[in-house]
């Protein structure tokens, strides 16, 4: 194990996969110099034909990923900010997510669409969406949202190996986050959640960047005698609903923390699954800690107030356990 920054873990995963498999290619706007650092140095190591800067043309870009993948390459298509996906959305929503199905499995489409998502840095409405629910609803695209450097490396490797389109969403501003990363070929299977912390009183499912505040909240709650079973799904497609259901069957209570806008969020969906499949185990309402249905604001205090955080997660859990009084809320 070695401590690594998130962005370094991503960079090493790309580097390692490019070294292992000559079919892996990376393209996107400014991937050569690399805005976030995740693709930095790849061109020098792996050649100008495999690491290519694109013009600002998301429409053709997202579709080129489909064509190059259909023709046998493992394509990493860097969309920079997730919001720019909308500009090239047809090839994601109508092509990548459907082409294999429409042709009855004639092809595999090993594409990784990468992008930064979510708020927290005053990037304002057009650079802060959490678009994983929308992609989930498309059905044909896997979605990975790593919460730690180790998961970023392991999930990205799996995403590149995967014969299907995978949306790999990096949390905005978390590139500098440090964490232990196993040596060697660290791979994490898509569709396997992780139990961040065990507890018996309440299940908290936290997605992507929400895992960190949820962890802090869980620690704080532990001091108050509340045991949180904290689950990080790591991928929402496939979703490890079994692990979530098992946990809720144990605790009887569920809070889902999601950085998406509330309506039709991943939180909604996880809540719906549990309200359906482990209803009898439920001792309390299912709570969602999500973003209100607004485009995120720029001003730091406004933005901060709208994003889930340690306090709002704690509060939701305490209320669920009828301990609202204790926190004076």
């Amino acid at each position: 194990m070695a401590k690594k920054r998130m962005i370094q873990a991503i960079n090493e995963a790309l580097d390692g996969e490019m070294a292992r498999d000559p079919k892996v290619v990376v393209f996107g706007e400014d991937v050569e110099i690399s805005l976030f650092g995740d693709t930095r140095g790849l061109k020098d190591k792996h050649g100008a034909h495999r690491v290519r800067n694109m013009p600002i043309s998301e429409t053709v870009m997202s579709g080129m990923a489909v064509g190059a993948a259909a023709a046998g390459y493992k394509v990493v298509c860097h969309m920079m900010f997730g919001n720019f996906m909308y500009t090239g959305f047809d090839s994601i929503a109508n092509q990548a997510s459907k082409l294999r199905y429409m042709t009855a499995g004639q092809i595999a489409l090993p594409i990784v669409y990468m992008g930064v998502f979510g708020g927290g840095r005053s990037a304002a409405a057009q650079h802060s969406d959490a678009m994983h629910p929308m992609i989930m609803n498309l059905g044909g695209i896997k979605v990975a949202l790593p919460a730690t450097p180790a998961d970023a490396m392991g999930l990205l490797r799996s995403a590149i190996h995967d014969p299907n389109p995978v949306m790999f969403l990096q949390a905005a501003g978390r590139g500098g986050e440090q964490g232990e990363v196993p040596e060697g070929d660290h791979v994490i299977e898509l569709g396997k959640a992780s139990t961040v912390q065990e507890g018996d009183d309440v299940t908290v499912v936290a997605i992507g960047a929400m895992v960190r505040p949820a962890m802090r909240a869980a620690q704080e709650l532990a001091r108050a005698g509340i045991g949180v079973d904290l689950i990080d799904p790591r991928t929402v497609v496939p979703l490890d609903s079994e692990m979530i259901l098992d946990s809720v069957r144990k605790t009887g209570r569920l809070v889902v923390v999601d950085e998406a806008r509330d309506m039709c969020s991943a939180a909604s969906h996880i809540a719906a699954i549990c309200a359906d499949q482990c209803f009898d185990a439920l001792k309390a309402p299912i709570r969602r800690v999500t973003v209100p249905d607004v485009a995120l604001p720029y001003s730091p205090p406004l933005e901060k107030a709208l994003l889930p955080n340690v306090a709002s997660i704690s509060k939701a859990v305490r209320r669920l356990l009828g301990k609202a009084a204790e926190e004076g809320a």
Partner: protein, 330 residues
């Protein structure tokens, strides 16, 4: 014997091959049209009838390693690139034995083993996909090319310009073939398309050429130049092939359109320029084939059509108990 048509000599066999390829599309599609009218085909059907010379002119010079991407009007390209008529017909009939096991239908026929990335229900979508396939071909370094067929309407999708730009910069072996049939659905080109489409290549410095899309030999020669250009690593071309669809935009249109959008005279004019009879005449006039040869081809194709329809009709529908949710992920 062979005919010299501006520099190119085609053998009798080649000429008959072109004729067969065009007629095969025509007869198969006529049957599809009849079947659609008879209510035997689910979903919408867009026929390529009248435009066969374009698809055949290009695809007859490609191998299975070359890629094509097509449109909602994609049966012709599928067949011209070597697609199987039985599998096509069964697909359009929605049967288990179809090329896409009934999952795709008319607008999504594809055969990746033959380099047919497929028809596409989204106007313009094939342009970006083929650009990516051409990038793959370039990296493969084996001289394969990618061709996107699309309509004059699709040329107004911004993606065409994005693709021209990147294809020129990366020198991609790609050919953008715009089949200008004069209409975007029911809108005449003049009302929705400014200027000449072929000129849109110029600002990017892409090779470009306009061609009579109803003249198979002209298309073939133009295609040969563009394909050579691409295979040689010289980058993309934009070809505008002027043609006409002799059928409706969609077979069902008479039943739902309240008014006409083109005159009988215009249609009649273009029927007179139908690429297939014109080509038949040319072959015969040049002494490259006899009427008997053509009749034999006609008969062979009739047999193929019958066989394809029997195959489709005789095939079961996919079974919802085991099919329908299988292919989302590999």
């Amino acid at each position: 014997m062979s005919v010299a048509s501006s520099d190119v000599n085609f053998s009798d066999e080649q000429m008959l091959g072109f004729y067969r390829d065009m007629l095969r599309i025509r007869r198969i599609e006529e049957r599809i049209g009849d079947d659609a009218k008879a209510g035997n085909i689910p979903g919408a059907v867009h026929l390529y009838i009248g435009q066969e010379a374009v698809g055949v002119g290009f695809c007859s010079q490609l191998t299975d390693d070359d890629w094509i991407a097509s449109t909602h009007r994609g049966h012709g390209h599928f067949l011209a690139k070597g697609g199987d008529s039985k599998l096509l017909m069964a697909e359009i009939y929605g049967r288990e034995t179809g090329m896409c096991k009934g999952h795709g239908g008319s607008m999504h026929v594809a055969d990746f083993s033959k380099g047919i990335i497929g028809a596409n229900g989204i106007v313009g979508a094939g342009i970006s996909i083929i650009t990516g396939a051409a990038w793959a071909a370039q990296m493969d370094g084996k001289g394969a090319v990618g061709i996107a067929f699309f309509g004059d309407g699709a040329a107004n999708q911004g993606v065409m310009c994005e693709a021209l730009n990147v294809a020129v910069l990366w020198k991609l072996p790609v050919i953008f073939v715009c089949e200008n049939n004069g209409f975007s659905e029911f809108s005449p080109s003049s009302t929705v398309t400014a200027g000449n489409i072929v000129d849109r290549a110029k600002p990017y410095g892409a090779a470009h050429e306009a061609v009579d899309g109803n003249d198979l030999i002209a298309v073939h020669q133009c295609a040969a130049r563009a394909i050579k250009h691409a295979r040689a690593g010289n980058g993309p071309s934009l070809i505008e092939a002027r043609t006409y669809r002799l059928r409706g935009h969609v077979e069902a249109e008479v039943s739902f359109l309240g008014s006409k959008y083109r005159s009988d005279e215009e249609v009649a004019e273009w029927i007179a320029r139908d690429p297939i009879p014109a080509f038949a005449k040319r072959v015969i006039d040049a002494g490259q084939a006899s009427q008997a040869d053509l009749d034999r081809i006609e008969a062979e194709i009739a047999a193929e059509v019958t066989e394809a329809v029997l195959f489709a009709e005789g095939s079961p529908y996919p079974d919802p108990a085991t099919q329908g949710t299988n292919y989302m992920f590999a």
